[in-house]
Amino acid sequence: MPGSGLVLGRARRERLQVGESETVGPYTLLRLERGSLDPGIPGQFFMLEAPGRVLPRPMSLCQAPPGELAFLIEPVGPGTRALCALEERDAIHVLGPLGNGFDLDVERPLLVAGGIGIAPMPYLSDALGSPPAILGFRSERHAEAAVLLTDAEVVVEPRLVTELLPEDPGDVLACGPEPMLEAIRALVPRTQLAWEAPMACGYGACYGCVVEVDGHYERLCIAGPVLREAA
């Protein structure tokens, strides 16, 4: 059945209606009715149809209120702009949940996010009982998105999240720009880092999203997006 079949294990594809969108600083919180989709594990992502574009766009689940899936989207190009322009009662195809999320079996979680890397954190924080969090943004306006997490410490550039890392940070669960993730990886022994790569399919079909893992190119959409490291 077009638009309602079961594919790719737990992932399903369905046409979902858009509910009320909100702006959160420069971002848009896009609310979709959940349909029969499973919200998945924090850190997993969905492929969202971007109206008028050839390829869908990967988006981490931000919040999972009953009956809804909510995505926090930064308009950086044609696809994200099309998603941010969606209006109530529009409908888009959504496929997911996809990829590997965060392993929630951690003793002392510390959430760290930079910029739009905050997207998966609200859902992750809920799942972990609101652990401490450090958020970094490039402007006060971007930092408005901190309202999505309770009790987070917030830094704004030129200050960096790494400056706030405690001496013994425990298990760092992080999402953000590559330089931030690299810096954390260099400083923290046990991490779960959510990486990004351009993705065409999100389900292992195109080999477009590879990242180097142990000297080999692995598809981030199925090997990640969350990669664990334990030094």
């Binding site: 594919v7 790569a197 351009p198 999203c209």
Partner: protein, 291 residues
């Protein structure tokens, strides 16, 4: 008539998406080369306004890895398996083909003569087909590039060299620059251009080759719906493959099949019989079905 719906090579991994593979009439593997290949550095893909670019660079486990680790699992899907074969010389093609020759699980071999993202073999397409033909008695499809001034001529050459069918078309080279840096968005620079923008080009190639040779043709290039599939069949394709479309819609095989059937039904019984090659009027020789 039923029109088999396949995936385009490199556009589906049956092992991570077995349900999608099972919705196809045959599964085509990503191109297999003699030795394992890591492929090209990322970023490897970029969306364009009306299509996409890729420069994967034939990442694959090599023929030994394929035979040992992949083929047995693919066989268990119970979908006919087409293996796409690539290489950098006639010897490469012959080597992979002879390794596949004895595998009962391989229904068809598709020769990727036209990947725009790796060095070309020095031999002509016809020489590569001849080398493959000498190495296997499997059904051999030759996959041609649209980037040629006379694709019908290429079709005749590979037909004479022993191809049993044609796969039309592969991607054509394209480039996109980053808005800020004005450097290529893909690490390697240019990539293979696929998707809706390619559709009229693919259709012209199928049309020209169907008039030139009496072989079954798998048509592909920018298919998004049943009407696009209908066009390819009218131009002379006997089967249709879905590529870029699968990235946005893994359920496309069932949908396109249903839409195509509806298009044919709407045009009535008599139409279905003469569907293949309908665009040619009475000028085309009507080859037998693909399968």
């Amino acid at each position: 008539m039923t029109v088999p719906i396949l995936n385009a090579s490199g556009c589906l991994d049956a092992l991570v998406a077995p349900e999608v593979a099972r919705s196809l009439d045959a599964f085509v593997t990503k191109t297999v080369t003699p030795l394992p290949r890591e492929g090209n550095p990322p970023p490897r893909i970029a969306e364009t306004e009306h299509g996409m670019l890729n420069s994967i660079g034939l990442q694959n486990p090599g023929v030994d890895g394929f035979l040992e680790h992949h083929l047995p699992k693919l066989a268990s899907l119970e979908v006919p398996i087409w293996v796409s074969v690539g290489g950098f010389s006639a010897g490469d093609f012959a080597q992979v083909c002879s390794a596949l020759d004895s595998c009962d699980d391989v229904a068809t071999v598709e020769l990727n003569l036209s990947c725009p993202n790796v060095e070309e073999a020095p031999e002509t397409s016809a020489e590569l087909v001849a080398a493959a033909r000498g190495a296997t008695s499997k059904v051999l499809y030759a996959k041609l590039s649209p980037a040629t001034s006379d694709v019908a001529e290429s079709a005749r050459a590979v037909a004479d060299a022993g191809a049993d069918g044609l796969s039309l078309v592969n991607t054509i080279r394209g480039l996109q620059l980053d808005a800020d840096t004005l450097r290529p968005q893909i690490a390697n620079g240019p990539g293979g251009y696929s998707g809706p923008a390619l559709r009229p080009i693919a259709l012209a190639c199928v049309y020209a080759c169907a008039a030139a040779v009496d072989l079954p043709i798998v048509g592909m290039g920018g298919v998004t719906c049943g009407r696009d599939a209908l066009d390819l069949v009218s131009a002379g394709a006997s089967a249709v493959a879905l590529g870029t479309l699968l990235f946005s819609d893994p359920e496309a095989p069932a949908r396109v099949r249903a839409e195509l059937e509806a298009e044919v039904r709407r045009r009535g019984q008599g139409f279905a019989a003469g569907l293949r090659g309908a665009a040619h009027g009475s000028t085309m020789s009507r080859p037998a079905s693909a399968e």
